[in-house]
Symmetry: C2
């Protein structure tokens, strides 16, 4: 096999931003780094790309090795490539975003590497550019969730409308009118009411709902709007990607 000469080869790491929801709050799964530099400091789930695996495979492997998690919703976000992002050596970091229901995986999570859930507003100091990765992931999640029914990946199979609403309200820091919210969600047909109720949070109890798989996957591409337009606070960026430059069209 021929090789390209005179080119420098670089390490590629995979960094997984794992968002979780426990029924009340968003959390982030972090781990204490097991090797130098920055050993024992908090870090995203990360690892180096191996010779024979694709990026997607590596992301699944890294997450599985560090947490035991499998079959989790994951998507590639963005490659980070600042030359100085890792002080030890040049490393390109490819970021993945994962969404899981904390309670569901509570037992599945291996504690070999002692991953820990942190509240989003109480994150520890993190290595390298991991804070930026998290910030971009959060922006991306806000952006995507405003358009696609992605947040269901954070919920258990059976969930209630109030739970779902908390999920949306929490992500954007808003409050939504429950009548309008339930009407919008139900009109899409992606969830259906079960007979049982969740009585753990109120005396009356709230009906459980489950996803209607066919409609869910069909609507996944669709642009929805569970979020009232005017309720998205101006401070929240809804752009998924950084843009490098405007052309001169907008520079003049």
């Amino acid at each position: 096999m021929m090789k390209y000469s005179n080119q420098s080869r670089i390490l590629v790491s995979i960094d997984c931003v794992v968002f979780g929801f426990d029924g009340e709050n968003y959390k982030l799964l972090l781990i204490q780094r097991g090797f130098e530099p920055e050993k024992n400091k908090w870090s995203l789930m990360g690892g180096f790309l191996q010779p024979e695996e694709s990026l997607d495979e590596a992301a699944q492997r890294v997450l599985h090795e560090l947490t035991g998690l499998k079959n989790v919703y994951m998507e590639q976000l963005q490659a980070f490539g600042c030359p100085s992002r890792d002080p030890a050596e040049r490393v390109i970091g490819v970021t993945y975003v994962a969404l899981i229901d904390i309670k569901k995986y509570e037992k599945q999570i291996s504690n070999h590497f002692k991953p820990k859930w942190f509240m989003m507003d109480d994150l520890p100091e993190l290595i390298f550019d991991h804070p930026q990765m998290i910030e971009l992931s959060l922006k991306h999640l806000r952006y995507k969730a405003a358009l696609h029914p992605i947040l269901f990946e954070l919920l258990p199979e059976k969930f209630t409308l109030p739970q779902l609403q908390i999920l949306y309200e929490g992500l954007y820091g808003i409050t939504i009118d429950k009548r309008n919210f339930s009407r919008k969600v139900l009109s899409t047909g992606i969830i259906k009411k079960e007979v049982e109720k969740d009585k753990t949070k109120s005396k009356k109890g709230a009906y459980y709902y489950t996803l209607v798989k066919e409609n869910y996957q069909a609507q996944f591409q669709r642009i929805l709007n569970f979020i009232p337009k005017n309720d998205i606070p101006p401070g929240i960026e809804t752009e998924s990607k950084v843009q490098l430059a405007y052309s001169e069209i907008s520079d003049n």
Copy 2:
């Protein structure tokens, strides 16, 4: 400086998908590859990441070296990492999307490497996974343009409403009612009418419009809808990203 041991280092390439518009059609800028393997076959604007540059810098450099283009709208799309994507050696490909007005840069484009514009429906055979990169870029462009006023990057400073409409109609393969279209676009305040008219395409002439920079940048993050909802044909994917897996929520 310490290094990570026992990890394999990999080449990182930057591949730029350069979309252009000439007033009538979308085109793609391609180049004949200058080195083995696949020398002289058609390729995206590509090059290897250098040790001291960031990914974004590399993208700008590669595009500039091959075409002479500078100050172009560009954004990172996605990293491609299939181990077999380059037969010579393992290479991670980071894809960037660029948008330019063909006429504006007609003279600026250097022909040292002889880049050539191809019609979107008449692309030559391409190397490696470049067809997939292009396909994903096109999907991304359709997705993003349906929500953000990004297509203006393809137009000259002064453009007409019919031109703008052709831009949108061409991207989605639809026809749009011109009354509704102009009302929607104008209501955003991102463009303003000039006094002159473009008389090259009709006897009456069409008014020129220009971007209102402040409103344009302000609305860039906004979710707009110049495209009538029902007019987006079902075959057109509007999803920007591939997702790796659904969680079991949707697998049950």
